[in-house]
């Protein structure tokens, strides 16, 4: 069971999940726990010879009931591959799975915020190579979504709606300008190749999306993921996080004067590479001051990413 301690100096929670120290770490492919169970072989996490998409409670959870949730989402029973390499239909199905998990976990009393994410590559700490993501059901509102709520207050409305309007008006950092979904390198990107994928219409979460929009979201996410791989012609590490409305009643409700509840569905990618071989490290300024120092301009990396997406399409 994890322990929460509140860091008074920074005003944020720290989670101690010491049982995770012994979690499975980069097993050889014959012992991948996310593979289907082979007839006569040792039982894996999914005790069936084949499956499409599987979700299960993390064996080494950062959170667990009645103090939140931690789930693993396995995209495919094929060990080799990636999110970008899934069939378009499987990627679309994954959007429905995400939506279902958001609804179920968000309905729980012990979950205030549902975070769907994927860590890709050993550069961001991946311990299993099989294509998969994770879901954390936080029993509190973490700092980043809290900052997004504060941005709504600062901009006097939905912040992602306003930032999307600015990006569309500027146009210089746009990557994909779709009918339902837009991708861009944000004006104040912290990572060299950071990208945000934003629903064009105001959708607090996956629950409010039309089936057409879920399909468009999957297509846009895959286009970007394949573009990333084409950028340096290598598997591109990233952290991908789905941002949605908080699910706790008090913070997720519509703000005063607004018709819809808080939040605007968007997906943020934080890739650690700043060149084909060099990683961006979080060092003195980032760790000690909380201020990112970037070696690249978003306008320039957007050009490179647009070209890579075109090459990969």
């Amino acid at each position: 069971v994890s322990e929460l301690r509140f860091d008074e100096l920074r005003g944020e929670q720290v989670v101690y999940a010491i049982h995770r120290q012994d979690r499975t770490f980069l097993p050889d492919r014959e012992h991948c726990p996310l593979d289907p169970t082979k007839p006569g072989g040792p039982e894996t996490e999914i005790p069936f010879p084949s499956f499409e998409i599987a979700v299960f409670d993390n064996r080494f959870p950062a959170f667990q009931a009645p103090g939140g949730a931690a789930e693993v989402v396995v995209y495919t029973d094929q060990h080799d591959g990636s999110f970008g390499a899934l069939s378009p239909r499987r990627a679309e199905d994954l959007m429905w799975v995400w939506r279902h998990r958001y609804a179920e976990l968000g309905a729980r009393e012990d979950v205030d915020y549902v975070m769907i994410f994927e860590n890709r590559g050993v550069e961001v700490g991946v311990t299993l190579h099989h294509p998969h993501g994770q879901i954390y059901g936080f029993p509190f509102l973490p700092p980043v979504p809290a900052a997004e709520c504060a941005a709504d207050e600062r901009l006097r409305g939905c912040a992602p709606c306003e930032l999307l309007r600015r990006e569309l008006a500027d146009g210089e950092r746009l990557l994909i300008d779709g009918e339902d979904v837009v991708a861009y390198v944000p004006h104040a990107a912290r990572w060299a190749y950071e990208a945000h994928i934003v629903m064009r219409a105001h959708r607090p979460s996956l629950l409010e999306c039309e089936p057409r929009e879920l399909r468009a979201l999957a297509e846009t996410l895959q286009s970007l993921a394949r573009g990333y791989d084409a950028l340096f012609e290598r598997p591109f590490p990233y952290v991908m996080v789905v941002h949605q409305a908080p699910t706790a009643g008090d913070v997720g409700a519509a703000p005063p004067g607004a018709a819809e509840r808080r939040g605007h569905l968007h997906v943020e990618f934080y890739p650690p590479l700043r060149t084909a071989e060099k990683l961006k490290f979080l060092a003195g300024s980032e760790q000690g001051a909380g201020t990112f120092i970037s070696d690249t301009l978003p306008e320039e990396t957007a050009v490179a990413l647009r070209d890579a997406i075109a090459r990969a399409s």
Partner: protein, 61 residues
Amino acid sequence: MARKPAASRTPGEAESAVRERVGPLAVERVAKADGRALILYSRAESPARAEQPEREEREPR
């Protein structure tokens, strides 16, 4: 996809619990031997699965 009870389960099999529909997907909840939840999602294309009523998703609190 009928499954044996856990007591007679062999590696590669697990007990099935509940089936539902979510959008285009059939959802099958399975009890793992250690009690953790396992949910299997698959395209509901077979007539048998397509006829199953869709369970309403619950709204967040």
